[in-house]
């Protein structure tokens, strides 16, 4: 077999072009100009400039990664020449970005790309002429590319510490709207301010240095000492380990319940929304992650929950039921279960993509029925149902975000508990078996019909709980809230977090639901960033942010298999692969 060598110059051009086009793309859609007004580090760096810096760094870093031909061992560190190639990649990226500037200032692009304004071009040329901008971009790009590749010269622990420090600085700076109010309240109690850390919408200069050093050092020492701690934890007797785990859980719960005391009501609302999506995610995770039924119409159950609650509690609905929540909640869940089974029954014979399409249809049907003139006397058409009374509990009304937050956190904990219990049970095993191979599961005595319906019903019940909160939170329901995009969001957060993993669902909800609400600058580009994150994640971390142990093993096994197959094709050693016939 022809053994191709790796051409680093070619890779440098390739990565440089990719980074360059990414920079151009961000500028062309208007992200860059919007981001100029967002501070990353006070008076040093804004988010718009940071885009250019980040892409050049990433191109350099990607190039610096040591490579080897298949079969050879991949070296841990890069050769010093890698830095030169990193510089080359950065220079190509800079040149590409400059070419865009050149075109934009000579050709009228605004008729097509409305965001490419003269002020953007001026801003991106940094006040100089095109000629000086060329120099600036190519030299700057080269410098950044080299900087990006340089960490590969270090040993792995130091390198990762640098990357972590960089990432943490960016994350902490961008979470300013979230962290600053919290820190302010907390630090006020010990008579401190946050001005040393945050200044004007981003990190202060000192703050940036502190965060960078602190996170890098913490990571470095955790890596050096962490294994020891972990192995000591592993050596502990089961009972002791159990106690530590429970203790950690109690601390987490206490923190979650204490949180509203230090949150602004805006933050409590954002966290409440995240909580609702966590509930939805956990519910859908049972249907998709456990039972393997690709349901794209999950929003229907959110709608069922909201509308049932609304019907039973609205003070302005013609039915005027105005029941108690004590009655309304169980009835809502019951209705959701019945509808879950009704939707599940006709699709019992469908699998995979077919199931996805049909459930997608069901989701839309739910929305259209609610919107229809025919159902207007009940669901109120586009006007929705208004005047949903908030529940009264322990003498207070659950409507303010802070109070509702408590109720949502408790529900999230209950649903998470149910999820954990189910995953390690006879029912969970039956679902998993069904997901893996329906026919064999049936041959092992599992009633496919029963367990599919059970999965749909459980998912529906959990989804409807989220719907109840949704109705309480808004005090009204409108059909437009139950768009297909909700189903897609929930699915995306499951995939992002790691299919089948409960911490993954929570992390996914934070990233996909919480962050866009907090980072107002991103709001318009939410879907764009969604897409980019998902694609990147599927490429580099297909098991998700916090994968379940099982899924991790599975992917490791799969990649090992690929490797051995490759070895076999190379025809060196290795036994004959066993051929099985179906």
């Amino acid at each position: 077999m022809d053994r191709k060598s790796i051409s680093l110059p070619r890779l440098a051009v390739k990565f440089g072009l990719i980074a360059g086009f990414a920079i151009i793309y961000c500028a062309a859609v208007g992200m860059t100009s919007r981001f100029f007004s967002r501070t990353v580090i006070n008076e040093v760096l804004n988010l718009g400039d940071f885009l250019f810096i980040a892409f050049c760094l990433i191109a350099g870093y990607a190039l610096g990664k040591p490579r080897a031909l298949p079969g050879d061992a991949v070296p841990d560190r890069a050769q010093p020449t890698a830095v030169a190639y990193g510089a080359m990649a950065g220079a190509v990226a800079g040149l590409t970005a400059w070419l865009f500037l050149f075109i934009a200032s000579n050709v009228e692009l605004r008729s097509v790309l409305i965001s490419v304004t003269t002020s953007l071009v001026e801003r991106m040329s940094y006040g100089g002429s095109l000629g000086s901008a060329l120099l600036f971009y190519v030299v700057g790009g080269a410098f950044l590319g080299a900087l990006g590749a340089a960490p590969w010269l270090l040993e792995q622990r130091k390198r990762t510490a640098l990357v972590v420090a960089f990432a943490m600085t960016v994350v902490i700076s961008l979470s300013e709207p979230l962290l600053r109010p919290i820190l302010t309240t907390v630090l006020l109690k010990v008579r401190l301010t946050t001005s040393w850390l945050y200044f004007g919408g981003g990190l202060s200069r000192v703050g940036a240095i502190i965060v960078f050093l602190a996170s890098g050092l913490i990571y470095y020492f955790w890596k050096t000492r962490g294994e020891e701690v972990q192995s000591r934890f592993g050596d502990m007797p089961d009972q002791q380990r159990q106690i530590i785990k429970i203790g950690a859980l109690v601390l987490l719960v206490a923190f979650l319940l204490y949180l509203p005391a230090i949150l602004t009501s805006f933050l409590a609302e954002v966290l409440g929304t995240v909580g609702l999506y966590v509930i939805l995610g956990l519910g859908l995770n049972i249907v998709i992650g456990y039972a393997g039924l690709l349901d794209l119409g999950y929003v229907a159950f959110l709608a069922v929950g909201s509308y049932s609650t609304a019907l039973m509690l609205s003070t302005r609905h013609p039915w005027g039921l105005e029941w108690s929540y004590l009655l309304a909640v169980p009835i809502t869940i019951l209705i959701a279960i019945v509808i879950g089974i009704m939707i599940g029954a006709p699709v019992l014979r469908l699998r995979g993509d077919y199931l996805a399409i049909v459930t997608l249809g069901f989701g839309e049907i739910a929305r259209i029925v609610v919107l229809s003139d025919w159902a207007r006397p009940i669901f109120g058409g586009a006007q929705g149902i208004l005047g949903i009374r908030a529940p009264e509990l322990l003498g207070t009304t659950l409507r303010e975000p802070e109070k509702l937050y408590y109720a949502i956190v408790i529900c999230v904990l209950i649903v998470a508990f149910i999820s954990v219990r189910l995953s390690k049970s006879r029912v969970g095993r039956a679902w998993n078996a069904m997901r893996e191979d329906e026919q064999v599961a049936e041959a092992m005595g599992i009633s496919i019909i029963g367990y599919k319906l059970l999965a749909f019903a459980t998912g529906a019940a959990i989804g409807s709980i989220s719907g109840i909160f949704f109705a309480i939170k808004l005090g009204s329901v409108f059909a437009s809230s139950f768009n297909i995009i909700v189903s897609i969001n929930v699915l995306a957060l499951i995939i992002l977090g790691g299919m089948g993993s409960i911490p993954g669902v929570i992390a996914g909800a934070f990233v996909l639901v919480g962050l866009p609400d907090l980072l107002r600058e991103f709001a318009d580009f939410r879907l764009l960033i969604y897409g980019a994150i998902l694609v990147a994640l599927m490429l580099f971390k297909p098991e998700g942010l916090i994968p379940s142990r099982r899924r991790k093993l599975e992917l490791e096994a799969a990649s090992e298999e690929e490797d051995t197959q490759y070895d076999k094709r190379a025809g060196e050693g290795g036994t004959e692969p066993v051929v099985t016939t179906t």
Binding site: R426, N432, D437, R550, V578
Partner: protein, 260 residues
């Protein structure tokens, strides 16, 4: 009375009669080999007995109760378990979990039990694990030490073993093994023959196996049934069937067949 009694079993796929009025029985503690050229209807026969296909005609009785019209999971409940020609484990589940799934039909715990995990559920869960480990333990140290690894990480022969363990965990009385020796080397085949003997002697299973490997069939079967074009053409001891003219014709005759 026979454990499994099949009479006049017929299955047609369009114009093709895959299984053509086959009579067939398995007694308690008996090992029956089913042989026949490719496409003779052996696997179809298994699929009918285990409820994957409904027969067009005929009667099947297991322990005196009719199997006709039952779903696969109901057939398993009655005490018939099978393995598959192409190994079909649950790849993303551990070895132990694969075997534990086999216990599904012998246990009860539902959603509520799973959530509250009361004493009864916990006892049942312990029983499931115990029995699954017992089934794995039948294969000596092949499966048990790897109980917590993913089943997809097992070697080919161990996957075959796990398929049998999973079937054993259903607490069946009759095991249907579809080409258990496929893809095994001679030593592994010898081990398989011993194993199947032990399944009967130590665990009292009745076994039906489809097999192309004649030495395996010869060494393990009390009785051999030969199929060709969906019809039963011979039934008797290995010696009788091997010397049967129709069998020889089916294997060596007009059609070119794999060497036995």
């Amino acid at each position: 009375m026979s454990l499994l009694e099949v009479k006049g079993l017929t299955k047609r796929f369009g114009g093709l009669t895959a299984v053509d009025s086959v009579d067939f029985h398995v007694d308690q503690g008996e090992i029956v080999g089913v042989i026949g050229p490719n496409g003779a209807g052996k696997t179809t026969l298994f699929n009918i007995v285990t409820g994957f296909y409904d027969p067009d005609e005929g009667e099947m009785r297991f322990d005196g109760k009719s199997l006709v019209g039952l779903k696969p999971n109901q057939v398993t409940n009655m005490g018939i378990a099978r393995t598959f020609q192409a190994i079909r484990l649950f790849p993303a589940m551990t070895v132990l979990e694969n075997a534990m799934v086999g216990q599904h039909c012998r246990t009860r715990a539902g959603l509520i039990g799973a959530i509250f995990r009361g004493p009864r559920t916990r006892a049942e869960e312990r029983k499931i694990e115990e029995r699954a480990r017992d089934a794995l333990g039948f294969f000596g140290n092949r499966l048990l030490p790897r109980a917590d690894e993913l089943s997809s990480s097992l070697s080919y022969a161990d996957r075959r073993r796990l398929e049998i363990a999973r079937a054993m965990a259903t607490e069946a009385k009759l095991l249907l093994l579809d080409e258990p020796a496929a893809g095994m080397n001679p030593q592994e085949k010898e081990g398989l023959v011993r194993l199947i003997g032990r399944l009967r002697d130590e665990r009292n299973y009745a076994i039906v196996l489809i097999e192309h490997d004649m030495p395996v069939v010869k060494n393990v079967s009390d009785r051999v049934v030969a199929l060709d074009y969906g019809k039963k053409i011979a039934d008797g001891t290995y010696a009788e069937v091997a010397s049967n003219e129709r069998v020889i014709e089916a294997y060596l005759g007009a059609r070119h067949e794999e060497s036995a």
